[in-house]
Amino acid sequence: MDPMKEVPMTVTVNGERHQLTVPPWETLIECLRDRLGLLGVKKSCEVQVCGACTVLLDDRPVSACTVLAFEARGTHVRTIEGLARGDDLHPVQAAFVEHGALQCGFCTPGMIMATVALLEENPTPTADQVKRYMRGNICRCTGYKRILEAILAASRQPGHAGPGDGR
């Protein structure tokens, strides 16, 4: 394969199928933000530490900054934009609002997507399990306490995978 040549790919994003032609070096975050206009995916550390760009790739949380767009071919990518159904917030989103689990909001989309992945994997985590799972999502504002409360509250909600989980 010519490394400079753009390659065709198919990807489903928030339930919508896209046929794209991307350069092989394009990252998933560039593809989602610049190509598809999903600006809720936030760019921060660019080295897979902060988690601000967390999206779900076939239910697995990944940092979109260090995944190539081409690696997402044939997968279902879920972003923050696909969570709510119209005016109905996803239970995790609602819990973040109710518990005041955000300040500047820049980490919030990634934090919420990581939470969705956690709760899909483990619907009733303990506080320690939440702290361990969420280590890869940095928040500079809140000090995490209210995020932890929101996550535990959402985990007690029935059906926290939610009607609007983008599937």
């Binding site: 999903l38 600006l39 809720g40 995916v41 936030k42 760019k43 921060s44 550390c45 660019e46 080295v47 530490v49 902060c50 601000a52 972003t79 923050i80 934009e81 969570l83 709510a84 917030l89 989103q93 609602a94 973040f96 609002v97 109710e98 005041g100 955000l102 300040q103 500047c104 909001g105 820049f106 980490c107 919030t108 989309p109 919420i112 939440v130 702290k131 361990r132 969420m134 280590r135 890869g136 999502n137 940095i138 928040c139 500079r140 504002c141 809140t142 000090g143 995490y144 306490k145 209210r146 995020i147 932890l148």
Partner: protein, 764 residues
């Protein structure tokens, strides 16, 4: 706790921006897209100090998509240099580079990738020069002078007293003295003299600096995540020789700031490039570039305290040295504030304080949550525990004996203490079970600190517009950096007007539309902007009552406004009916204006303190003697907020500040070597994560309604960062008997200290 007569003030209403932030619809400057937008990237100096010999731009200029490649000489500006204290910083380095990472050449291209590729094709010739890469080196005799010439910016009243020391790298020397120190030290039963070190830190707001600029015949428009839109406007107006009215600075939501976005940062680069290429230019830094834009000052504090056997403080001497980097930024004010706050909130008859702000060939240091308080508090509150221990006194009792009482003066001429420090500290100690038994390897520590809150001699203005349908626009220049200011200001407006909270919409700062505000810093917005909003709302309410008086057949003074209705006895009209009734159909509105303009001019800082922002902290730690690892198990943070406008958001500010303060206590520091920053990014710069959250993190809000702000409020937001490091250090000392004077308290440092204490190994 909300007073009964209040409807929305004192209630934890949801943030106005919560929904857009959880849905991903919130837009930050880094999300802005404009027609014809082009992108800039920077070539940065790889060395800390060099003479620039020349730049070979031709290969970069002819690369795909490139519109322009600019050095300082290519920028179409009236002034190349800017800065809030001294005009010492060039938009791009000119003839000389003064720190590793300084922007030297800019490339503008159709895409970020093309601009970045062009930067890689630049050839910059330079000749390295000897560098002063620490404050110690910069103060040594024969050190290279970072700035032989300095031009004062003359922008702020409190900076009129800048005192550079000619022929040295000291760009500002703050001094304060009182009392008979010689006698106090001679008569003291105990004197403790120690040097404490606090490292340079990176702000690492998750949204890196980003600015978008457009210049056309109407003037210059800059979208930026700044905390000081009006100060940036002023500097841009000078740089481009434009009237203020032709410079528009627009601030969308900001993805964290913490002082790192105070005053002008990258806006002049974006604006000068936009002027050069005739198209809107976006300059978005990486997080690592942001760490090369501004830092928190590394500070060395020598502190000497004299005390009587009964625990009475007699005298304190402080010599603080701040590494302000290659450009002064707001460093001189940080030095003044660090010095002014160094004695701590105590009654001390004799003082001598010096704080020197020192130019070095490091990344410029500027504002960071607390303006010097965390650095000097590490010294002063560590030393308070050393004094207590040597006197055989309980650290809590020792502090209580010396704390300023309500109404006592801290410094002659300044606002007397406006809160109850003892109440706060006792509550904090109680909340952490001070005095209760603990297992081995565990200890508790306390700290207390304060700052002159609200900013020195600063102005805020606001406009309240009541529309014909009863909805309300609030125009305020306060930046929403995450602190919840929009929500709190809307609560103040709604409460004052007597309309539902939901009817108030808050505009984002836009210097062409929102009235003047000094800036979003110094925990000042709730109090200072809050008073301006309250005044604007009162003005609008008076006008509304005047309009309603005729229709209700009543004296305006007899009218009340509540729940969106103007009420006279059993009769009432909705706000919409009053406005529409006066103007007819839908035309017209009621416009209220309000300002806070300080009138007093007194005190050592040159302006009476608006309120005292006090913070208390109590830590319980567990120390692993085998590894030296310190784990924070419990932390209690207390803040005196006067009256919480939104209690949940007040507590959230304090919690977030405390966890931010935990970083430099245990693991966070910029690591440099010969002027090179070795850990610019997050792989090797360790920030607090979820895993660092203590088992219990509690916040106490002291609410005595005694603040000067609306409804008795004081500011909050910075105080939670003040006490964490000394409280943890004091807890460590009480747990295992070793005391460290340099932050962070890493396992290696603690382990070495433990080894040395046991006599098992080399000293630390």
């Amino acid at each position: 706790m909300a007073a009964e007569h209040l409807s929305v003030v004192g209630r934890s209403v949801p943030r106005l921006d919560a929904r857009e932030k959880v849905t991903g619809e919130a837009r930050y400057v880094s999300d802005l897209v404009l027609p014809g937008l082009v992108h800039a990237k920077l070539w940065r100096s790889p060395v800390p100090h060099a003479r620039l010999l020349g730049v070979e731009t031709s290969r970069a200029a002819s690369a795909p998509g490139v519109l322009a490649v600019c050095t300082a000489a290519d920028l179409p500006v009236a002034r190349l240099y800017y800065g809030p204290a001294f005009r010492d910083q060039p938009i791009l380095a000119h003839e000389e580079v003064r720190f590793a990472g300084e922007p030297v050449v800019a490339a503008v291209a159709d895409t970020e990738a093309h601009a970045e590729a062009a930067v890689g094709l630049l050839e910059v010739r330079y000749e390295e020069q000897p560098a002063a890469t620490s404050a110690e080196l910069a103060l040594a005799s024969g050190a290279p002078l970072v700035h032989p010439q300095r031009e004062r910016a003359g922008r702020f009243r409190d900076l009129a007293g800048l005192r550079p020391v000619p022929g040295t790298n000291v760009c500002h020397h703050f001094e304060y003295a009182r009392g008979d120190r010689a006698r106090a030290f001679a008569e003291a039963d105990l004197v403790v003299d120690e040097v404490y070190r606090y490292p340079a830190l990176s702000h690492h707001a998750l949204e890196p600096h980003c600015a978008v600029a457009r210049l056309d015949e109407d003037g210059l428009t800059v979208w930026t995540g700044t905390q000081h839109p009006f100060a940036v406007r002023k500097e841009l107006a000078e740089i481009f020789d434009l009237p203020l009215a032709r410079v528009q600075v627009v601030v969308p939501l900001v993805g964290g700031a913490f002082g790192g976005k105070c005053y002008t940062k990258i806006e002049p680069i974006a604006a000068a490039l936009a002027a050069r290429v005739g198209r809107p230019v976006r300059l978005a830094l990486s997080l690592e570039e942001s760490a090369r834009t501004v830092t928190r000052h590394a500070v060395t504090v020598r502190l000497r305290t004299a005390v009587r056997r009964d625990g009475t403080l007699l005298a304190r001497e402080c010599d603080a040295v701040l590494d302000t980097g290659a450009y002064a930024d707001i460093g001189p004010r940080v030095a003044t504030k660090a010095g002014y706050r160094a004695p701590g909130p105590y009654r001390i008859p004799a003082l001598r304080i010096e704080a020197r702000c020192v130019y070095t060939h490091n990344v410029p240091a500027g504002a960071y949550r607390g303006y010097g308080v965390p650095q000097v508090t590490w010294a002063s509150e560590s030393q308070m525990d050393v004094l207590a221990e040597r006197l055989g006194l309980d650290p809590l009792a020792f502090r209580l004996k010396n704390l300023l009482k309500r109404g006592e003066e801290y410094v002659a001429g300044d606002t007397p203490m406006d809160g109850d420090l003892a109440e706060g500290l006792q509550g904090t100690a109680q909340a952490v079970d001070w005095g209760a038994a603990l297992g081995p390897g565990r200890g508790r520590g306390l700290a207390v600190a304060m700052k002159d809150g609200g900013g020195t001699h600063t102005v805020s203005s606001a406009v309240v517009r009541i529309h014909a349908d009863g909805s309300v626009s609030l125009l305020a220049g306060t930046v929403e950096v995450g602190q919840g200011a929009q929500t709190v200001l809307a609560q103040i407006a709604a409460e004052t007007l007597g309309v539902p909270f939901e009817s108030v919409v808050v505009a984002l700062p836009d210097t062409s539309l929102t009235p003047y505000d000094h800036g979003t810093s110094a925990s000042r917005s709730t109090t200072v902007m809050g008073l301006a909003v309250q005044a604007a709302a009162r003005d609008a309410r008076l006008q509304l009552c005047a309009l309603a008086a005729d229709r209700l057949g009543a004296d305006p003074a007899a009218l009340d406004v509540r729940d969106g209705r103007v009420v006279h006895g059993a009769h009432s009209l909705t706000v919409a009916e009053v406005v529409r009734g006066h103007f007819g159909f839908v035309g017209g509105e009621v416009t209220g204006v309000g300002s806070f303009v300080p009138t007093t001019w007194s005190g050592t800082l040159g302006g009476a303190t608006v309120f005292w922002e006090t913070g208390m902290g109590a830590a319980e730690v567990e120390v692993d003697a085998e590894t030296g690892a310190v784990r924070l198990r419990r932390y209690v943070s207390a803040a005196d907020v006067g009256q919480a406008i939104n209690p949940r958001e007040c507590a959230a500010q304090d919690e977030g500040a405390a966890m931010q303060g935990l970083g430099p206590a245990l693991f966070e520091a910029r690591v440099g070597e010969a002027g090179q920053l070795l850990n610019p990014g997050l792989i090797d710069y360790r920030l607090p994560t979820f895993a660092d959250l203590p088992d219990r993190l509690d916040t106490l809000l002291v609410e005595n309604g005694d603040g000067p702000g609306p409804f008795g409020a004081k500011g909050v937001g910075e105080s939670g960062t003040f006490c964490v490091a000394p409280a943890v250090g004091n807890a460590l000392a009480r747990a295992v008997g070793v005391r460290l004077t340099e932050l962070p308290l890493t396992p290696e440092r603690v382990w070495r200290a433990l080894q040395a204490a046991r006599g098992d190994g080399p000293p630390p």
